[in-house]
Amino acid sequence: MWREVVSIAALAICCSSALAATPSVTISNQGSLQFGSYVGAGGGSVVLAPDGTRSVSGVVGVGFDFTPALFTVTISSGSPQYMIALPAMTTLVAPEGGTMTVDAFRSLPDRTGMAKPPARMDQLTVGATLHVGPNQPPGHYEGTFQVTVNL
């Protein structure tokens, strides 16, 4: 009987401490990835780097309304380091029916980041490469992508 009480007490200590000390990570989205507008002509590609710089080949930009996606990562306790997983590609669709591919997602910080105390928060930006086909139909193209962070 005594052994049983000790064991259960030990179990309670183990679990309450495990629950309290388990670090958790959260991510929130403050801005979407916007490539901006282009005159398609013969097609080409747009590389939007996570630092916000853009390089365009083939197509021609109209205006400067391009911006990488912005996220905030928060880690509750423990090690500040987190790993970033990005998709391989996604497809953008226009209401009129055309599609474009977005791939080569890149983040800043790259692959791993640090949400250091005291704030335990970090900002993460994501860019990618847009592929515009020859004679791409005009329209507003939209799609989604997922960002995963792991401790």
């Binding site: 009987m1 052994r3 049983e4 064991s7 259960i8 179990l11 183990c14 679990c15 495990a18 629950l19 388990t22 670090p23 958790s24 990570v25 959260t26 991510i27 929130s28 989205n29 979407s32 990835l33 916007q34 490539f35 507008s37 282009y38 005159v39 398609g40 002509a41 013969g42 747009v46 365009v56 083939g58 197509v59 021609v60 930009g61 109209v62 996606a69 996220f71 990562v73 996604t90 953008l92 226009a94 055309g98 474009m100 977005v102 515009v132 791409q136 139909p137 005009p138 329209g139 507003h140 193209y141 939209e142 799609g143 992508f145 997922q146 960002v147 995963t148 962070v149 792991n150 401790l151």
Partner: protein, 191 residues
């Protein structure tokens, strides 16, 4: 006194607790979010700036001097001035058109802009596009009035063409050292 039944219960409780702790740990150590990605494609005329007009590094001259950077990127000094190299580039743009237009373009540049820095402002004048492929002097104007042409010597923008603009910097006698910069507009007009 040993009680085998109680011991088994404890072991089972431990296993469940260990499993619960594991589940909590896994669920808290990863987070996923979905974001939107968007792009617009439109018909009409578009223009990208690829590089700025840059005269490079210049030694302050003893007398008033000029530095000309042509549309091909060659720098030519005039007067008692020495060029040290550095970044020497014409302003470079890409101009494109889509959506059925196959017209020709002419280019409007300013007469003069001033660039400012550590000392008195300096002027950049003589903006021109000479040295571009498929673009004659008759395709460039310093006003909103269409230049003389001929139209056939001016470029189409489908597929996009590269436009290079040079200019001439006037450097004052004993111009104070420093970085000088300013802005100028280039407008492309459909002929």
């Amino acid at each position: 006194m040993r009680n085998p039944a109680a011991k088994r219960r404890v072991s089972a409780t431990r296993r469940i607790a260990a499993l619960l702790a594991f589940l909590f740990a896994v669920s808290a150590q990863s987070a996923v979010i979905t974001s939107t990605v968007s792009a617009g494609i439109q018909n009409g005329i578009g223009m990208n700036k690829v590089s700025d007009l840059s005269f490079g590094d210049i030694i302050s001259p003893t007398g008033i001097s000029t530095v000309n950077v042509d549309a091909a990127g060659a720098a030519t000094p005039s007067g008692p001035v020495f060029l040290l190299g550095g970044t020497v580039t014409p302003a470079t743009f890409t101009v494109g058109q889509a959506g059925g237009g196959a017209g020709r373009f002419w280019v409007q540049v300013p007469v003069s802009v001033s660039i400012t820095g550590a000392g008195p402002a300096m002027n950049v004048t003589n903006f021109d596009a000479v040295g571009n492929v498929n673009m004659a002097a008759g395709c460039v104007s310093t006003t909103a009035v269409q230049p003389g042409g001929p139209k056939g010597a001016c470029p189409k923008a489908d597929p996009p063409f590269t436009l290079r603009i040079g200019g001439r910097l006037t450097v004052g006698a004993s111009q104070p050292p420093g970085t000088y910069s300013g802005l100028f507009n280039v407008t492309v007009h459909l002929w």
